[in-house]
Amino acid sequence: MTGAARYRTRFDPARIVMLAIAAAACLCVLVLLAAILWLSFTDGTPGDPNLGYTVGHYVEVFSDSFTWRVLANTVVFLAVTLAVAFALALPIAWLVERTDFPGKPVVFTLMTVALLIPGFAVALGWLFLLHPRIGLVNQAVMALFGLEHAPFDISTIPGMGVVEGLSLTPIAFIMISVALRSMDPALEEAAAMSGAKPRQAVWRITLRLLWPALLAAAIYVAAICFAAFDVPAVLGLTNRIFTFSTYVFRSLTPTEGAPEYGGVATLSVIMLAIAALMSVSYRAVQRQAPRYAVVTGKAYRPRLSPLGRAKGPALAFVTAFFLVSQALPLVMLGWAAGLPFLQTPSAHAVAALSLDNFRSIPTDLLLRIIGNTAILMVAVPTLTMVASLAISWVVLRAKPRGAALVDFLAFLPVTVPPIVFSVAALLLALFVLNAAVPLYGTIWLLVIVYVIARLSYGTRMTNTALMQIHRELEEAAQMSGAASFGVLRAIVVPLLAPTILYAWIWIALLSYRELTLPVVLATGSNLPFSMLVWSYVQSSSYGRASAAALIMLALMVPVLLLYWLAARRAGLLTPRVAR
């Protein structure tokens, strides 16, 4: 190998550019995570020359009974969310994949749209329905039965769990359908030929085979739920009911006094550790799955059971799911947006309906925010896809020493809860970088953090697509005389184009609905759209919050259409799990 090593240094511009981009992206991930770890051991304000080191924050956090209460809350929140999401996703996935349920593409499309509707908008709708004081259902029931106390309270841990469960049902649904679809129907047919009745076959074969996939999906959904911010923030922050992510947020922005940055960093590290544990167990379970030979990557055409007379109830069930989980809260937004204050429907209320809430949002603010959001929606997906392409190319094609590390670092962000990323970026920008690169307060800080947060998704897409391009296609271009940039431009990029476009729009949509990252990082001048809604929610201006959320949803529609077209072109109309 001594001989070969000598030629490696040959100058290849494409290689150097790609390596530089991949290294820069990986460095950002590394620096952010290293910063939060470092800060958790510091004593005093970061940037102070007399900064000391301590493990005191960890002692403090673990000896604080409130930490344990938040952890207990989070466990209950996870349990309720998983129960709700799987109780709904399992039957719907089974109906769509294994029966003659009508309108399957519609179900898939609606599930994808549901994945994109901002969680804070839906949570706000539930607040209007089931808040103990202003919730319309509560008001109506109390008036009807003359009750003193509100019968329902959505601002509780189980209440948040139900709402979060409803909003994570689409992800669970997609994961379960993929598992059901990739299961060889011959396995069930063999059970039938061995004399098992259909119900016995489902119990003894289908569910047993599906078990690793279900477990993996459960851990995946749990990890997302653990990191979730929108729903617990909208429903719980005002009355101090915390899950771990909202607790980290509240520690960073206390209602009184100055934040204790070392303590916030410590909480973030603990959250990161828990998330990493989930990620490791997810991978472990996923690695088990092939042993069951369930996931073959091949799409089978399983026998579809006829629903017969059950078709009506099945259809009603799925329709009810979409109505209750998405339509109802959004309708509530519309109702609240039209009224000066929330009230139960009546002739009087209808007469009070107006567009005042919409008009009261200052136009110049709205325009500035739309401008910021547009920058995010263009810059974030573009930079993410450039970095992803470079990383995939380095990992799968150039394979320099350390390629495995690049792959690992690019995968890391999927593990990291967004709130941890934003806390890390905030502390880093405020106390370390500000003297050299004044990023804080600019839109570019948001851009960088958004890109890092989406890096794992982007590289997963480009990895899969690049792996499907036969190496000989590139080698044939080399033999035809194309140098490395030529091969990239003429062969690799055009062949990846559908995937890149699809992922680009998906990331643009996720950037649009993102709340967790800007809630920590955005200040007056770099606010994106989600923060407008959030700031109205914070000041309890629910009518204006609803109006802003509706404008936001309306502006999303054209991008959604683009997404649908791109997905159709990339052959990805059946969506993958994407975060």
Partner: protein, 366 residues
Amino acid sequence: MIRIRDLALTYPEANAPAVRGVSLDIAEGAFYTLLGPSGCGKTTTLRCVAGLERPDAGEIIIGDETVFSAADGIFVPPHARNIGMVFQSYAIWPHMTVFDNVAFPLRYHRPRPSRSEARDRVMAALALVRLDKLAGRPAPNLSGGQQQRLALARALVAEPRVLLLDEPLSNLDAKLREDMRLELRDLVRRLRVTTLFVTHEQIEALTMSDVIAVMKDGAIVQEGAPAEVYGQPAESFVADFIGRTNLLSGQVMTPAVSTDGGLGSVATPVGLLHCRLDASRRVGDVVTLAVRPEHIALSLGAADATDPNVVAGEVATVAYLGNLIECTVAIGSHALRVQLHPSAPVAPGARVRLALPIEYCLAMRQ
């Protein structure tokens, strides 16, 4: 035209070298074939010539240009070597038309041809492989055979110094493969382009090549014209890999005297056999004796013990293959494979005599 000296390459993740000390010379215009089982290093050697792999040691010279030399630190990247190559998967770019696929190499050709000249050359290359009528078609809408011919047109359009073929026929079905074998051979012979061909199919190597080099474990074990490699295999591996053959291990009893036409005798499990033998072999040397099934004559009845090279046995299995019958004859604990005319009256259990002609019994190293 191609000169390779002491080529060696070990892949980073492997523990055994993929190629160890390969040297060969390919004359201008020759059709040279690397033949061997998978993992023998033939494709690695070809990819080193292409520049798609960097050898650890050795030298590769194409024409009068050294494209690789470990000693002098020379490595010409693949895109600067002016070589045409047909890949095993054909590597037809699916996002281009048939025409664009073939036109691609001309983009990088120096001096760059004018638009109309490029067009003419692409159409000429397509006409050569009878695809000129399909020039506007998207490349994925071609059959396997058409894709194979398209890959050939693309490899030839820039008039490369050398054509490399990496198992180009292995993805075709049997009948088409037979047709393409001849078509490919005729085409490159007509164009007189120096060709390096890699295959694991002995029939392709025998029918198409000027020279065959048989490879095993990263090294060339025998090189020669097809008839030479088939008729005088240097060792049992070659005899067995090219065509089916009966191999009997034995010990030299009578060494050959070179004036005696190289004939000697070897004691084998089926008895003492006279055979062609290298004069350097001494009494007691262990050798392998090879005799091809088609050269064994079978007759019914018991053997006369005095006839030389005749052994008695019993027919064990009979397989009817249409154009011939292949049967195995058990001689003690050994079995010999024999090919017969389809009308031969043999049945399992029959007592037969096998005559092994001396001139077709070859003793070789194991």
